[in-house]
């Protein structure tokens, strides 16, 4: 949401400096506008603080405690020992590995398929609306439902696979099923973001290249993709952040069996099932830090500009 408004305001603001340089000292009117702006934004900011900042700070506080609801009397400050416990445990690192695997593979596949879908949606001449709606349908289905659907589809008794093939009884098969479900479900989201990027690629460039005799393949690699680089990075970032927090699909299909447990799954077990608030909060905070790290890598290292879906500058 914020991205589009940011982009919008920037675009509106963009033509302004074309003529004269902006005045160094702001006028009274500008200051009053500024104050009004702060007042208008304050309620939203306060609400955001209440619903996001407070829970995060509370979770950090909990993660420094020994606090298990099953033993409420034995409670106290333990410093970083919950974190040391988590980081020194093999199960944690297995979960980090499997979460990374699911994230990398599914986001990559989503990018490739999503781009193909975006091109189809962009170039569709007949039944444009129908094509777009059809592509978006999976995204409208609840994750738990699609997870069950794929689990049923590959099960030996209810599924479509021949004979006694049972993907969910091997590690590789389980990962394949989970990733397939994720890709099926969220590719539409990816293609929607990419479609927005495609719309910003100037048509004149395409036509000029066509006149110069560039093939479709060359136009894709030399013109379309470089021009929508920004949109691709934003789409990758959004999906990576989302995929890294994967929970429902794994919970439904394997319940973390066969080394498919994810970080969210460990957090769920500790917090909801074992009601060990200290340990569970430490896991949640670690996941939170990893998400921040991914966002940081994208924004700083890959120079992803969240403020624009337009690329190429």
């Amino acid at each position: 949401m914020t991205t589009t408004t940011d982009a919008g305001s920037r675009r509106i603001g963009a033509p302004e400096p074309s003529g004269r340089k902006p005045a160094k000292r702001s006028t009274d009117r500008a200051q009053a506008e500024r104050r009004l702006g702060i007042k208008l934004a304050a309620p939203a900011a306060i609400l955001m603080l209440a619903v996001t900042a407070f829970p995060i700070l509370y979770a950090i506080w909990l993660s420094l405690q020994r606090y298990d609801l099953r033993n409420p009397d034995d409670k106290g400050f333990v410093g970083l020992s919950n974190y040391l416990l988590v980081l020194g445990d093999g199960t944690w690192w297995t979960a980090v590995g499997s979460t990374t695997l699911i994230t990398v593979v599914s986001v990559f596949l989503e990018l490739v398929i999503g781009l193909a879908f975006a091109l189809v949606m962009h170039r569709a001449i007949f039944g444009r609306r129908t094509v777009r709606t059809a592509i978006l349908v999976p995204y409208g289905i609840i994750t738990v439902i699609s997870a069950f659907a794929f689990a049923f589809a590959v099960a030996p008794d209810t599924g479509f696979l021949p004979g006694s093939v049972d993907p969910l009884s091997s590690t590789g098969g389980s990962f394949a099923t989970i990733i397939l479900t994720e890709v099926w479900k969220t590719t539409p989201f990816m293609s929607l973001l990419l479609l927005a990027g495609l719309a910003t690629v100037p048509e004149e460039l395409q036509e000029a290249a066509k006149v110069d005799g560039a093939t479709a393949w060359q136009r894709l690699w030399k013109i379309t993709l470089p021009n929508m680089k920004g949109a691709i990075m934003v789409a990758l970032l959004f999906r990576a952040l989302d995929a890294f927090r994967i929970f429902d699909t794994v919970y439904v299909q394997t319940a973390g069996a066969l080394n498919t447990q994810t970080i969210s799954g460990l957090g769920y077990n500790a917090l909801v099932s074992r009601v060990n608030l200290g340990l569970g909060s430490a896991i949640s905070i670690l996941l939170f830090l990893m998400i921040i790290a991914i966002a940081f890598v994208f924004v700083k290292l890959f120079k992803t500009n969240l403020g624009t879906v337009k690329g190429g500058d």
Binding site: D68, R70, T91, F152, D157, S169, A270, S273
Partner: protein, 422 residues
């Protein structure tokens, strides 16, 4: 399993709606007793019967919980931790006693408060022990359950019915028949492991309050138990898709027409089910005691069932207690047994002709209930359970039992103190 989990998911989604119907605390003058319990077919009957005989002492109502025990527990734990005072009566799986008692979510019963199920003279040993924690009785056993060895008479022919695991494996291998036993990463795996370990002569955890519990698992007997689990995971004994099989999948597989299985190990609910689905096939169902590890020693059969607990934050403990005394009476136990296939906990019903008619295996089960060993009654039971599932799933991955043993013991030590990442 799939069908059950999806049903559980559906119920889970519905539950908050049901819970929101703001209900008054009295109904026609009688104090309302809210009973949180998984949905069971016999519920409406026993509630009706008790309300009819209550004479205004209480008005019992059920609040439905998800169908699978893990989901039931999670919802209860969340509510109880938030001191929900609408929870008067809880249908507790036999393994929750230690956790709920230590956390102070249920209140103990005083001597003499329970009319029907307050002593070991009245109740079978296994169910009675599952309701005790730290020297006090926290649960009122409502019904019991134990797994039996089921077989198809026509397929077994005139071979002897296996009494030990060794005999079972040999017979199944000769017949090239899978043994329908659960293999999913779920509580059912702990049920099996606990039974095998105790049958072999040791136990998982020695109970103790306030973190005094200790991991026992003597090496010799545990290796024996692990070896049986290893063999269960090998062909031709392992059924297709074993690593995802739950109790209900086994029931369906065993009663389906193209089943090649001669044996199944399961709770008795499989019997009323097959009687309803195919009465002819039901006649082909044979039953025998849960297999022994050692030929001379009766098996420590798995133990299931419900205990009733009174929520600590209830507004009317008297009314809840009156409801418990009605629910545990022989009449209600009979309804639960005949309608749900779940055996009674009362010794006086061991030979009951009415129950015996619908559950032909009643005598066998009640015999097993005295040697059945509950799963560890300890506050961190859930951690213990997750640790067992983590190490032993899937059964087909067990190869070096010594390695599994070391790993399991190590993880259990941590799990018992809630110090493991699971």
């Amino acid at each position: 399993m799939r069908a059950r989990t999806s049903l559980a998911a559906a119920v889970l989604l519905m539950a908050p709606l049901a819970a929101c119907g703001g209900e008054s605390d009295t109904a026609g003058g009688a104090p309302v007793v809210n009973w949180y319990i998984g949905n069971e077919g016999w519920l409406p009957d026993v509630i009706q019967a008790c309300n009819d005989s209550a004479n205004g002492a209480f008005a019992l109502r059920s609040e439905s919980l998800p169908t699978n025990p893990d989901g039931q527990r999670e919802q209860l734990v969340r509510r109880l931790a938030a001191e929900d005072d609408s929870i008067d009566l809880i249908g507790m799986d036999v393994v929750w006693t230690g956790e709920f008692a230590q956390a102070g979510w249920i209140s103990p019963f005083e001597q003499g408060e329970l009319e029907n199920v307050g002593s070991e003279e009245q109740v079978f040993k296994g169910p009675f022990e599952s309701a005790q924690y730290d020297g006090k009785q926290y649960g009122a056993p409502l019904n019991s359950n134990t797994r039996l060895l089921w077989y198809r008479k026509s397929k077994l022919g005139d071979r002897p019915v296996p009494q030990t695991w060794d005999e079972l494996f040999t017979t199944a291998e000769q017949l090239k028949s899978p043994i329908q036993e659960t293999g999913a990463r779920a509580e059912s795996m702990v049920v099996l492991f606990n039974a095998l370990v105790n049958s072999a002569g040791t136990t998982i955890v020695e109970p103790g309050a306030d973190g005094d519990a200790k991991v026992v698992l003597e090496e010799g007997p545990t290796l024996q138990a692990l070896d049986i689990m290893k063999r269960l995971g090998r062909a031709p004994v392992a059924p297709a898709g074993q690593s995802n099989l739950g109790e209900d999948d086994n029931r369906l597989a065993f009663q389906s027409g193209d089943s090649t299985s001669v044996f199944m190990i399961n709770w008795p609910f499989v019997y009323p089910s097959v009687v309803e689905a195919d009465p002819e096939l039901a006649k082909d169902y044979g039953f025998a005691p849960f297999p022994r590890v050692d030929k001379g020693t009766p098996a420590a059969a798995p133990l299931g069932g419900y205990n009733l607990g009174i929520g600590r934050y209830t507004k009317d403990r008297e009314a809840a207690l009156a409801a418990i005394n009605c629910l545990t009476a022989p009449e209600q136990q009979r309804t639960i047994a005949t309608k749900g296939g779940q055996p009674p906990v009362l010794r006086e019903l061991a030979q009951d002709p009415e129950i015996g008619e619908s559950l032909p295996f009643l005598a066998l089960m009640t015999e097993q209930l005295d040697t059945a060993v509950p799963r560890p009654v300890t506050p961190t039971y859930n951690d213990v359970s997750l640790a067992v599932r983590t190490v032993l799933h899937p059964l087909s991955s067990i190869s070096d039992t010594q390695k599994e043993y070391d790993e399991l013991k190590d993880l259990l030590e941590k799990a018992l103190k809630s110090q493991a990442v699971l």
